[in-house]
């Protein structure tokens, strides 16, 4: 066990105002069970889960309510016992509509646990992977990629390094930070389970140097771990938490274009995901709740709340003392990659790490002047693209011109738009361009 400074740092990136002090000191607090939960079927990347309950059914906490609908999909469980009152369409934080199982929670909570594997060190990896999949564990850093899939790389792609992502580079958010401080021991067991499953030689815990207390907590938790284990201290720079950039910072390897971390022998898991793995394997608890940072200058008492997935944002706001002044923008997630929502009637999901309420003076207007070709976006882009040229192509509807400029490699981190003096909505252009390309590719696949 050692603590090492990160040997490399990706090129590009930005240094936004982090504003983490608002919630960093607030210990994780459990949200009182809301009367009603709206559990979306799409809390992960891939096909939405298929409901297996119907209106009128009574469910126990942890009971399966929807099963995975494909290889890249994840099941959904009831966060609490109660009665299913409806299965209706809801708008999720990402702006897409999906079906949701609405549960009226019961005053008497009954819990239906999954099997547990206290002897996981002697359990077959395959069995553990199935169990983690059945518990609905997905990446909790933001994308929501099903962990089961990540943990089963093809045999020709051996994994030698597991990276535990504790960078939490998004401004304002502190949920992973608090998890590392308060649940270091559980995270360690989760990480070891992941390492055991993948048979990986090395384990790295990647934390930015602006969280010395988290680094200390992790050092302490992992101090007697065998093998090649180290805390890698990353230079504070956004987006250190992005998978590809983090792998480069920790190992110096570049994930090839269009490839996955496993192509360079790495798997990156968020610290909260490691906790969820521990919870599923050791406690038999499916992923039905998570810590969410409720923060911003328009919330009365910023907090880190442990809330069931399916809690409406309005319930979270109420638990934090309500809105302070006027909220002009409500963001699900952090300010760099989070989604603005149009109302508080939106449910949380497994990937919702934060809820940010900003007052009118804190929001930035992206008014889109002409590009003055200052090249700052080119310097800031961690994927080393040319957002200036890309956005101009897309603005002129020249998607064919944008595609060869590696449009699809954009990770939408927002660094370009953050630095743009002309305040061009660069990421918005990228998203639009990518959507057009995706639609074209889908159409081309349909009619070969």
């Amino acid at each position: 066990m050692a603590t090492i400074p990160s040997p490399h740092t990706f090129r590009g990136g930005i240094h936004p105002a982090y504003n983490k002090a608002l919630a960093a000191a607030a210990p994780i607090r459990e949200l009182p069970l809301p009367a009603r939960l709206t559990v979306p079927m799409s809390q992960h990347l891939g096909a939405p889960a298929k409901p297996v309950v119907k209106a009128g059914d009574t469910v126990a906490g942890g009971q399966l309510v929807a099963e995975a609908a494909g290889f890249i999909s994840a099941p959904v469980h009831a966060p609490a016992a109660g009665k299913v009152v409806a299965i209706e369409e809801t708008l999720t934080a990402s702006g897409r509509a999906c079906a949701a199982v609405v549960i009226e929670t019961a005053p008497e909570q009954v819990w239906q646990p999954l099997p547990t594997f206290p002897e996981w060190r002697f359990t077959d990896a395959k069995q553990l992977i199935e169990h983690i999949g059945a518990a609905g564990v997905v990446g909790m850093g933001g994308a929501g990629f099903p962990t089961r899939v990540k943990l089963s790389p093809p045999s020709d792609k051996p994994i030698d390094t597991v990276i535990l992502n504790g960078a939490e580079c998004e401004p304002y958010l502190t949920s992973d930070h608090r998890m590392m401080l308060e649940h270091a021991a559980e995270i360690r067991i989760g990480a070891e389970i992941i390492r055991h499953i993948l048979g990986a030689r090395s384990l790295r815990i990647a934390i930015e140097d602006n969280k010395p207390d988290a680094i200390a907590a992790m050092e302490k938790a992992f101090q007697d771990t065998d093998g090649d284990v180290a805390v890698t201290v990353l230079r504070t720079s956004y987006p250190q938490g992005s998978e590809k950039q983090q792998i480069f910072s920790v190992t110096g390897r570049e994930v090839p274009r269009g490839g996955l971390p496993m192509d360079v022998g790495c798997v990156v898991e968020n610290v909260s995901t490691a906790f969820a793995v521990f919870d599923a394997v050791v406690n038999g608890r499916p992923l039905v709740r998570r810590v969410i940072t409720v923060t911003g200058d328009a919330i009365a008492q910023p907090a880190n709340l442990l809330a069931p997935c399916g809690t409406l944002y309005s319930d979270l706001v109420a638990a934090c003392g309500g809105v302070a002044g006027q909220a002009a923008k409500v963001i699900s997630g952090g300010p760099m990659m989070g989604f603005a929502v149009s109302s508080l009637a939106v449910p949380t999901g497994k990937t919702a790490s934060g809820l940010l309420l900003l007052s009118p003076k804190k929001i930035s207007d992206f008014s889109s002047q002409a590009c003055i070709a200052c090249g700052r976006c080119v310097d800031a882009c961690p994927m080393r693209l040319s957002p200036a040229e890309l956005s101009q192509c897309i603005e002129a509807d020249d998607i064919d011109g944008a595609e060869p400029l590696a449009l699809m490699d954009c990770i939408e981190c927002g660094s370009c738009a953050f630095v743009c003096p002309a305040r061009r909505p660069l990421v918005h252009h990228m998203r639009r361009g990518k959507a057009v390309v995706m639609a074209r590719r889908a159409a081309a696949k349909k009619t070969p």
Binding site: G95, H428, R432
Partner: protein
């Protein structure tokens, strides 16, 4: 030799030599191409709109001649063009009626509410991807003009936050149909004049909450329309295969979303 003869002979010689070389080359080296393709290309209107599904008029002409493609796929050319091509190639002309695009929403900014303040690029798909769009109605026209931008003949105007197709200009190429992220635009027979200009599948009360001119699923029109309007859940839908002329449907619609096309403008208006 006098200069005139020399020059005549010289130029004539160069000309003849070049002509001979070209003729020989043409004879032994040329690559044949079906001459009918050129003719058919000329018969097509040359709008290159791609509405037929091919890459421009020349490609469509090639497809008609070489791949035996249907010759009635050209919407801008209309029936006349299809018949001309069919006659030229000696094929049976398939029947074709003029169609036009129509936006099945009439909830403009006077009648329908916006649920958020959108700050982003003026594109419907982009707005839709931002928190599901700023329109209160999840089915209604966002009004950021993606359809108008793809229209090759500028037949679509955005006015008061809603798109409207100019029937006279529309060539039914179908580009707007594909461009609308909410699938609000349909191609309908140009002869049809009465339409249900709403696409909301929500129940009446939900519609009323967000729009003053939406279909509330009251079914009054279905009785008056003699089978030409059917219900799709809580939404009245015109069956364009049947004639719909009863103007009472327009007058009696409590949601005011059944509308008759305005008569074509008089020249001096």
């Amino acid at each position: 030799m006098d200069p005139i003869t020399t020059s005549t002979l010289c130029i004539g010689g160069i000309g003849l030599a070049s002509a001979a070389a070209l003729a020989v080359a043409e004879k032994y080296l040329s690559v044949p191409q079906d001459p009918r393709i050129g003719k058919v290309t000329e018969m097509l209107p040359g709008a290159n709109c791609g509405g037929c599904g091919y890459a421009g008029c020349a490609d469509y002409a090639r497809a008609i001649v070489a791949d035996n493609a249907e010759c009635n796929l050209c919407a801008p050319g209309g029936p006349a063009c299809a018949q001309a091509i069919a006659a030229f190639l000696g094929r049976a002309a398939a029947a074709m009626e003029r169609r036009v695009a129509i936006v099945l929403c009439c909830g403009d900014d006077t009648e329908a509410l916006r649920r958020a303040a959108y700050n982003g690029i003026a594109d419907c798909a982009a707005a839709q991807a931002t928190a599901g769009g700023d329109k209160g109605c999840a089915y209604g026209c966002l009004g950021y003009g993606s359809c108008a931008r793809v229209c090759p003949v500028n037949a679509i105007r955005i006015a008061n936050g809603i798109a409207k197709v100019d029937k006279a200009l529309c060539i039914a190429c179908g580009k707007c149909v594909a461009a609308c992220p909410r699938k609000l635009i349909k191609l309908v027979p140009a002869a049809a004049e009465i339409h249900v200009l709403c696409s909301s599948k929500d129940k009446g009360p939900a519609v009323k909450k967000v729009c003053g001119t939406g279909c509330i699923g009251c079914r009054i029109c279905t009785k008056l329309a003699d089978g030409a309007i059917t219900m799709d859940g809580f939404l009245a839908v015109v069956d364009y295969a049947k004639p719909l002329t009863n103007e009472e449907t327009v007058a009696k619609c409590p949601g005011h979303c059944i509308r008759k096309d305005a008569p074509p403008p008089t020249p001096n208006s």
